[in-house]
């Protein structure tokens, strides 16, 4: 094996498949599909460090699934090439759904191994604010989670919060692994300066994310914010009972520590001035902080508050007492809920929420509406507001009309008011939370930054505004409040755009989109039954009791306990197999691992092709009578091979399920072969390998061996002697056709028909080894059609002639060798390989090859240039040139389809002309025999 890897004349293309063949003998064009190993085989030294850190276990097919291996693995101990390979089925749906490209499967896999620090840095790779998104995210990852098809999605947000809370709690001892969070990214700490300066307006999630990316690319970044605190909406928009300040502050501090200058309390309203003062680029990321109100009577009365004003005052530490008041919050979204739940904590006022949508249609999270009600907030859904009622200069209520609301059409509500439903909701404070939009007042007054009022700033495909060098991202671009995660996603994106703007060709490219894994319910069930995911129900988030929430801002939702986080992580199905935690990339010292490696197509030109695609073992689970898959300790011959192999999953020990060696073993022959039900052919090699196994069991396992055979076929030199030696060694041979294997009194009882006179017809043993036959590989049909090779009735590839051309196929230049043609043992495979090589060489060494002259030819005089032949030709061998068809004589293979479709009979197939065929037909039909002549 090793010499193949070293031979200068061999171009070894492992992990590759032939996709297409065209051409003819001597001149085949071959297209090979190289599957990505995600590891550069020319660099990988096989040091195994990647495997040691990989958190993903999967069954090892090389060991017949008797053992496990990691997602990054070496095929086998003596593999050639020796390089490792990563088994990746594609991008997990959770990653695909996340706007930040967060590899959730990756950190969950690390959590399963209790590697919380690794998990934290894995999260930080794409996500600078895990503590926020561990709490307030709309978790599109969970909506996409495959597990949702089976029971409930994995509580991904809960796990993220657990990790970020763990990291915060252990921040002093958190291993200094910042560099790990850069693995697999284009970013570096303390990079070489590019000399470019970027100003970012707005220290919210979009601005800070972009700042972080840009500073780690070597640009100098300064962030301005008009607020006295950084964090934007994360800080001033999320009330403390949902998001404790200190976590966010810690995260912002980590970002700023990368070398970002932050200037607070500074409102920028001269963007062109920024550019003139030396900035090469400006990012506008000011968010959507302008709260909307309806233009109804008295809505400007000072007892009309704005949602963000209240939240901001709380965020800045102001003490507000609303006790005894009647507060009505207008709006049905998440902000309205935040505001209402904040207000009720300010001295237990009477708080209610009124909104346009019906209860079921409210845009706020369903769970949070429930919690709000629990906390004592009353809901008045399904109404529109007509007037803020003021008496004696004080707000006393909101006059409402009930509506039938059908959603928004073109930005306007589509609804019918219900006549006579006019009523007043009593209130002495109204808080508006019907939506927010961006504030554009700081933009240049000359209109050089285009906006689509009232939506957002207009940007091109590269997120640049109409003012060159000025970019825009986040809510101010999209024009309404999205989620933090969307803003972070835009922040990453705009950083790439700015980098491309600043560095041109050298700038960051958009990431390559890999295919997304789609698991069927059956796939999910398999993963649960084979133990890759647990069958536990989803762990919900628990809350502090209601009575503990009164008049304080203690965080309501609790973090998962370690035990709960582990239970939840165990539920992850590991959709992509490789979790993309990138631990291997961090571990690989020579940089051989590339998770963004892509499929590659390689074109080859060859003169001859030898097919040696082999066979597959019969799968005995389709034959329940033999007990495989139904009874313990019924194994296949290949499973036995792996067990007795010192480099196999048991280290060379043949053991029963209970861990003890078997005292007696039965070997059953002809499993799946010579049967009407399964494969009708004789698999030819099983007799001899069964004898070998019998000897191995006898010599190394020291068990009693019983072999049940139908006919002992020992056809080649020395084979009969081998049989005799096996008999003499004391192996028991019984003639018979096995009818069933059953469990009786704790033992496996094998019964058979057709036993010889005076011989037993059953035996009780500890272990049964099934000598499974050979069958064509599952995709043999597809391979046959790729190579234009016919198949025998058993499905194997068919030789041109069973006697005279045993290694040739019907297609010149394509030869067969080995068990893809019929079952054969190793000596025969080697012999046939030699035969195929000899035939190939005898063709190649002629230097030239003579091809049949029967190809298509055009009688130009009759050709109308209609192109029917061009459409009919399977080989693109015909072109219309100067109004007539012209045949490329090297591409034409002579099928004659063109001749059949030519309406003018201008196209003919040489040696199969109409005239020749008709003449043959006339002769063939000329004679007949009358029935009287039949003897």
């Amino acid at each position: 094996m090793a010499s193949v890897g070293r031979h200068p004349n061999i171009n070894l293309m492992a992990y590759s498949e032939v996709e297409h063949i065209s051409g003819y003998i001597g001149n085949f064009d071959v297209r090979v599909h190289r599957k990505p190993r995600y590891i550069d085989a020319s660099v990988c030294t096989g040091c195994s460090k990647c495997t040691e850190v990989c958190p993903v276990d999967t069954l090892n097919p090389f060991d017949m699934n008797l053992g496990t291996r990691k997602a990054v693995y070496r095929h086998s101990a003596q593999a050639v090439p020796g390089s490792y390979t990563i088994e990746k089925l594609g991008v997990a749906p959770c990653r695909n759904a996340c706007p930040t490209d967060q590899r959730a499967q990756g950190y969950i896999a690390l959590v399963r191994e209790k590697r919380y620090a690794d998990a934290y840095w894995a999260i930080r790779r794409e996500h600078p604010f895990p503590s926020v998104c561990g709490r307030v995210c709309n978790h599109q990852c969970e909506d996409a989670c495959s597990r949702g098809k089976y029971d409930e999605p994995v509580n991904i947000m809960g796990i993220k919060r657990f990790v970020s809370d763990w990291a915060f709690a252990n921040r002093d001892e958190l291993p200094e692994m910042r560099d790990k969070s850069l693995v697999g990214t284009p970013f570096v700490h303390e990079p070489v300066s590019t000399g470019k300066k970027v100003a970012i307006i707005g220290a919210g999630p979009a601005g800070l994310t972009a700042a972080l990316d840009l500073v780690r690319l070597g640009h100098s970044v300064k962030v301005y914010d008009s607020s006295p605190i950084a964090g934007g909406m994360m800080r001033v928009g999320i009330p403390p009972h949902r998001m404790p300040d200190e976590l966010l502050d810690w995260e912002i501090e980590q970002i700023l520590n990368e070398g970002i200058e932050l200037q607070l309390n500074t409102r920028i309203d001269d963007i062109p001035g920024l550019l003139e003062s030396g900035y090469d680029g400006v990012l506008v990321a000011t968010g959507a902080h302008r709260v909307k109100k309806l233009a109804i009577r008295n809505s400007n009365h000072p007892q009309n508050w704005l949602s963000l004003d209240l939240l901001k005052r709380i965020a800045l530490g102001e003490e507000i007492d609303l006790s005894g008041k009647k507060v009505v919050v207008l709006g049905g979204g998440n902000v309205a809920l935040d505001v209402a739940r904040t207000a009720i904590r300010l001295g237990q006022p009477e708080v209610s929420i009124a909104c346009l949508e019906s209860r079921g249609e409210m845009p706020g999270f369903d769970w949070e509406i429930g919690v709000a009600e629990e906390e004592g907030i009353r809901l008045f859904p399904g109404r529109t507001f007509k007037e803020i009622v003021v008496e004696n200069e004080h707000v006393v209520g909101v006059r409402c009309v009930e509506v039938e609301f059908r959603g928004f059409k073109g930005g306007q509500p589509d609804m019918d008011e219900i006549p006579g439903s006019d009523h007043v909701l009593p209130a002495d404070l109204v808080i508006w939370a019907i939506g927010q939009g961006p504030d554009f007042s700081f933009l240049p007054p000359d209109g050089s930054v285009h906006i689509r009022y009232p939506i957002g700033v207009v940007t091109d495909d590269e997120m640049m505004t109409s003012l060159p060098g000025v970019f825009c991202a986040g809510d101010v671009r999209r024009g309404m409040t999205f989620f933090v995660v969307d803003a972070i996603g835009e922040g990453h994106h705009v950083a790439r755009c700015i980098d491309r703007y600043l560095r041109g060709e050298n700038g960051l490219k958009e990431p390559y989109q890999q295919d997304v894994v789609e698991l069927s319910v059956e796939d999910i069930e398999t993963r649960i039954t084979d133990g890759r995911a647990s069958n536990q129900p989803r762990v919900p988030i628990s809350c502090i009791p209601l009575e503990e929430r009164l008049n304080n801002f203690r965080e309501v939702d609790l973090t998962l306990t370690e035990e709960q986080a582990l239970t939840e992580a165990e539920r992850c199905l590991g959709c992509g197999l490789c979790s993309e935690c990138l631990e291997c990339v961090a571990a690989c010292e020579i940089g051989a691992i590339h998770h963004d490696m892509q499929d590659e197509l390689v074109d080859l030109k060859v003169g001859a092709i030898i097919l040696a695609t082999g066979f597959q073992d019969f799968d005995p689970s389709v034959a329940p009578e033999f007990g495989y898959g139904r009874l313990n300790n019924v194994i296949t011959a290949m499973e036995f091979e792996r067990m007795i192999n010192p480099s196999g999953p048991t280290g060379g020990e043949v053991l029963l399920k209970n861990g003890k060696p078997p005292k007696s073993v039965a070997i059953l022959q002809c499993i799946g072969s010579r049967s009407e039900q399964y494969n009708s052919h004789c698999s030819r090699v099983c007799c001899m390998y069964s004898l070998k196994i019998a000897q191995l069991v006898h010599d190394y396992v020291n068990a009693e061996v019983h072999e049940i055979y139908r006919d002992m076929r020992t056809v080649s030199g020395g084979y009969e002697a081998f049989f005799n030696r096996t008999k003499q060694a004391g192996v028991n041979f019984y003639h018979g056709q096995v009818t069933e294997v059953e469990k009786k009194n704790g033992r496996l009882v094998v019964s058979w028909d057709e036993s010889y006179y005076n011989e037993p017809d059953h035996v009780a043993v500890d272990m049964v080894i099934l000598a499974t036959g050979f069958e064509p590989r599952d995709d043999v049909g597809q391979v046959a059609s790729t190579f234009s090779v016919s198949r025998s009735p058993n499905g194997f590839f068919l030789e041109r002639h069973p006697k005279l051309a045993p290694v040739e196929t019907a297609t010149d230049g394509i030869y067969l060798a080995g068990a893809c043609q019929s079952p054969m043992d190793i000596p025969d495979c080697v012999a046939q390989a030699g035969g195929a090589v000899a035939v190939a060489l005898s063709m190649i060494d002629q230097g030239t090859i003579a091809l049949e002259p029967s190809i298509a030819a055009v009688e130009t005089l009759y050709c109308a240039g209609c192109g029917q032949c061009v459409a009919a030709c399977p080989y693109l061998a015909i072109e219309i040139t100067d109004g007539v068809a012209v045949v490329n004589e090297y591409s034409c293979k002579g099928c004659g389809t063109c001749a059949a479709v030519c309406p003018n009979k201008a196209m003919k197939l040489i040696h199969y002309s109409d005239q020749q065929i008709v003449a043959e037909m006339i002769g063939a039909l000329n004679l007949s025999v009358t029935p009287e002549e039949v003897t």
Binding site: G781, A784, S785, S788, S790, R791, S792, P793, L798, A810, T811, S854, L861, Y862, C863, A864, A872, P874, Y875, K893, G894, C895, G896, T897, A899, A900, V901, N904, K905, L909, Y912, D914, Q915, I917, V918, A919, E920, M921, I922, A924, L925, N926, S928, V929, T930, P931
Partner: protein, 175 residues
Amino acid sequence: MSDSHGDDVGNVGGLNSFEPKILGFLCSWCSYTGADLAGTNRLKVPSNLRAIRVPCSGRVAPELIMRAFDQGADGVLVLGCHLGECHYDNGNHRTAKRMPVLHSLLSFVGLEPERLRLDWVSASEGERFSKIVEEFAESIRLLGPCQWRPKALQWEAENRLINQKGEMSMPQVGR
């Protein structure tokens, strides 16, 4: 088929009726090889079949099929590789697509469409080949002799499209 009352249907399909002439177009790679295999395995194939080897069933132009009926075939059997196994990629798809048109053409000119059959025989399906020919021969036996030939021959003789050797001269259309 016939009961004791049905004198007029007589011995259609009976043993002593007629033996049809069947012209077969067999593709060289699959069906002709399959037919060879039937021989190698000493299976029985009705002698009614006269097989013509063509590179691909896609070569079998509609005129060739009509010409076979012209020349006295009682049935025409076109055999190719199974769909997806064509030696020439997709020649047999073309053949398959032509069949419905040909069948309706046959009925248009007064022939039973069942006299033309397209089927697939792979190189390893000797048994299938023998079975298809057996079935087809029996079905043509039941249909009786092709009635179109005498009329066609007469028409052709009148129009001098066929010479004394039985060769046809083909009317060609220039550009």
